[in-house]
């Protein structure tokens, strides 16, 4: 009898401690709730169900913890995350979403938050005792392994969603929805800095071995193990850097002889690329809370008569049918991205001040203002023209005569748009060699029904148009060196004449 009592007590205590390891103490959960209600509930909801004041405005949508489904785990597919996984997701955040990193929380606060978050799903009590997968140490990157990885990438049909070159443009990509029937985009594997689950090779490994639960990204059991790291290396090789190298200056390159954009992108070979960050237009009514494009690349060449600009950006699908325009009407606040019938085409715009700027003063970067207008070079990619609009604010955008030529193409999830015009023109801004000109960009993703004010945009950056005559530095170099040498020789002569004489006199 006594033995049985001890057995029962120890069983009870054992379960209690095991449970406490997963769920924390009541005091810990209570402390977590205080932080959660103040800092998390505005997006994830007071009850952890993501029913919140912010939800509609945030995409990807905040996680509903009540679902017990978590994307970023070190555990097997379908399992709950470990306590540390939850803490890591809070601490490191998810880049390019509205979930920021929270480095200001102490480890204890993260513990308490994680314990409290687990109370939203009963699964944690029943199945919360999870173990992380074995994480092998990563072999070092090799080109040969990356090459083998391409085969693994094809064999496992990664291109169906992520696309041939990993730009998130696979044939299935437009059909993807998550567990809650919300549209979801396949990751652009060339932009590591946007990955929610981290940008390291270990993160890539973890992502396809565990899968992203709730999303269409399954887990993959790739064998032999070398092939797992081959796939990691291939995916890693698709991106050039861990961090986005955003530019602020777009420097044009002076080229010799004629060029014509009909010759294709080859005329921009070896011309430096500047990447600019694109944000949603959230300044004027018709806001884009989650635009389809997050960066745009630009290159510029000039010769004595012409300027040509090449723009490239990644887009899941090319919308080359329908219509788009900077004046198209959008509901004042189309927060829920109401589906519309009309076909909207992809479009891109380059914005310059209509007149050369003096001092700091510029037109408003978005679409000009009453006192200073902008030129918008607007390319509706369903048409074969590049239009010119003069903007004096979003309510006053008037089409003007355009002499801008355009060539465009779409391949493997990338738009390439080439624009060409003479440096000086009666239709809009003339570019003065040797000067900086403010430049801004806008991108409309037709699949996202972006039109009019609803679009992705950049703020003002600087475009530098170099002088047409490249002065060789050799002449001035010789000149200054010679002058210095003469001054030195004069100094030597002075000392020698003056003090040698003295020495002679002394002698």
């Amino acid at each position: 009898m006594k033995n049985l009592t001890i057995l029962l007590i120890s069983l009870f205590l054992g379960t209690m401690f095991a449970q406490e390891a997963i769920m924390g103490t009541e005091a810990q959960r209570a402390a977590g709730k205080v932080i959660y209600d103040a800092q998390c509930s505005q997006c994830h909801g007071y009850d952890g169900d993501a029913k919140s004041v912010g939800n509609d405005y945030l995409r990807p949508a905040p996680r509903a913890f009540t679902s017990g489904t978590f994307k970023f785990r070190t555990t097997e597919s379908g399992e709950l995350p470990t306590h540390e996984d939850l803490k890591a997701s809070i601490r490191d955040g998810m880049p390019y979403t509205s979930m920021p990193a929270w480095p200001q929380f102490s480890d204890k606060e993260l513990d308490n938050l994680a314990y409290y978050i687990k109370t939203f799903s009963e699964d944690f009590i029943d199945y919360g005792d999870v173990k992380p997968i074995d994480m092998p140490s990563a072999p070092s990157f090799s080109e040969a392994s990356a090459e083998r990885g391409r085969v693994v990438y094809e064999e496992n049909q990664c291109l169906d969603c992520h696309g041939n070159l990993g730009r998130g443009d696979g044939p299935s990509a437009p059909t993807l929805v998550d567990k809650w029937d919300q549209p979801i985009r396949a990751a652009d594997l060339t932009k590591r800095w946007t990955w929610r689950g981290g940008a390291t090779r270990e993160d890539i490994y973890q992502t396809f071995v565990t899968g992203l639960d709730g999303s269409p990204m399954p887990s993959y059991n790739i064998q032999p193990p070398e092939d797992q790291w081959a796939l990691v290396d291939y995916v890693y090789s698709l991106g050039a850097s861990d961090e986005a190298d955003y530019a602020t200056v777009l420097a044009a390159t002076l080229v010799e002889g004629d060029f014509d954009i009909s010759q294709g992108p080859a005329i921009f070979d070896n011309v430096p690329v500047a990447m600019f960050a694109v944000a949603g237009q959230v300044i004027e009514p018709g806001r884009a809370h989650y635009p389809g494009v997050n960066s745009i690349n630009a290159q510029v060449i000039i010769n004595e008569t012409d300027i040509a600009i090449m723009l490239t950006w990644h887009d899941m699908t090319a919308e080359t049918e329908g219509v788009n325009g900077p004046n198209m009407q959008v509901p004042d606040d189309d927060v829920l991205n109401e589906p519309i019938e009309a076909l909207i085409s992809d479009a891109v715009g380059v914005i310059f001040p209509s007149e050369p700027t003096v001092g700091a003063e510029k037109p408003y970067f978005m679409m000009g203002d009453k006192s200073n207008s902008v030129d918008l070079w607007f390319a509706d990619l369903a048409s074969s023209d590049c239009d010119l609009y003069v903007g004096k604010g979003t309510g006053s955008i008037v089409q003007a005569e355009s002499d801008i030529r355009i060539a465009s193409s779409f391949e493997d999830g990338k738009w390439t748009v080439l624009l060409q015009r003479s440096l000086a023109s009666e239709n809009g801004i003339s570019f003065t060699p040797g000067t900086f000109t403010p430049i801004a960009f806008s991108v409309w993703d037709g699949w996202n029904k972006e039109r009019g004010n609803k679009r992705g945009l950049t703020s003002w950056y600087n475009m530098y148009v170099p002088p047409l005559e490249q002065v060789s530095p050799v002449g001035p170099m010789m000149q200054y060196a010679l002058l210095t040498l003469l001054a030195q020789l004069a100094l030597v002569a002075y000392f020698r004449i003056k003090y040698r004489k003295k020495e002679e006199e002394v002698a």
Partner: protein, 281 residues
């Protein structure tokens, strides 16, 4: 860990310590004459100015400081007749004595080469984009018109703040509405925790304000915030570059009450108190 990134009081600690250690070592282990000692000081101070300050000084400022330092060193040299004489003797020897011919030759070759190199880098460098200063908190107008209603920025105050004392429940409702307004409108740029790091923040210049920063809302009056929120970038004076700020004129989206509420929420969330109105005499 990047040793050169360690910063204290706005100074890069490691380069400064290295320069000081270098100067001390020169003093202890070498018997330098005054001229060489001055050259060491000149180089040491140059390295400190160009590497020792966390926010890099523009080249022109470093040049100005070096000019002053050169003058100071010359003054130091000429205060002692002995030092001056010793320096002159050294220069005479350097320029006339055949013992120094190799050094003199090196001097005659290296200095013009350095000048030529300087000209080369100056001419081949990509020109720097123009930088314009901007006033962060410009003086507000005395009043604004908000949807046809005049709001006196000097005398008007947040009409709902008094509820904090008189009717805490009603005040809580205003905080709750302000929170809703914030997370539906402001969060994209100013961020979840008001650190100015929302998901679009990196794309804008000037970057969105961080309300956690003690130099923003903590030193401003609520009526000032009302003006900034209601009129946004287009309402800024020229010295604050209205053409580059992405701050919307929220009168297009929000009611007067929404704006006062979101202002209350900013202070409640961050724990700051708005700056009090000055007593006018």
């Amino acid at each position: 860990m990047d040793l050169f990134g360690i910063s204290f009081l706005g100074l890069n600690v490691v380069p400064i310590i290295l320069v000081i250690a270098g100067l001390v070592a020169l003093r202890m282990f070498f018997n330098l004459n005054t001229l060489a000692w001055m050259a060491a000081w000149w180089v040491g101070l140059y390295l400190m100015l160009s590497n020792g300050i966390t926010v890099p000084l523009p080249g022109s400022i470093v040049g100005m400081f070096m000019g002053i330092i050169t003058l100071a060193l010359l003054v130091y040299l000429t205060t002692s007749g002995e030092d001056l004489e010793a320096t002159k003797d050294f220069m005479v020897k350097f320029f006339t004595d055949s013992r120094y011919s190799p050094a003199l030759l090196a001097f005659l070759v290296l200095l013009p080469s350095l000048v030529a190199y300087n000209v080369y880098t100056g001419m081949t460098q990509q020109p720097q984009a123009p930088v314009f200063g901007r006033t962060i908190h410009p003086p507000p107008p005395t009043d604004i018109t908000f949807k046809g209603k005049k709001i006196d920025l000097v005398n008007d105050d947040n009409p709902y703040r008094i509820l904090k004392e008189t009717d805490p429940d009603a005040f809580a409702a205003h905080v709750a509405n302000g929170r809703k307004v914030y997370y539906q409108n402001c969060v994209n740029c100013h961020g979840d925790d008001m650190g100015g790091n929302g998901m679009f923040a990196h794309a804008f210049d000037p970057i969105p304000a961080s309300f956690k920063d003690p130099t923003t809302i903590a030193m401003l009056q609520e009526s000032y915030l009302f003006w900034r929120i209601a009129k946004g970038a287009p309402g800024l004076p020229d010295e604050s570059t209205p053409w580059s700020s992405a701050m919307p004129a929220w009168e297009k989206f929000l009611s007067e009450e929404d704006i006062w509420d979101v202002i209350i929420f900013l202070y409640e969330y961050t724990g700051y108190e708005p700056r009090a109105k000055e007593e006018l005499h």
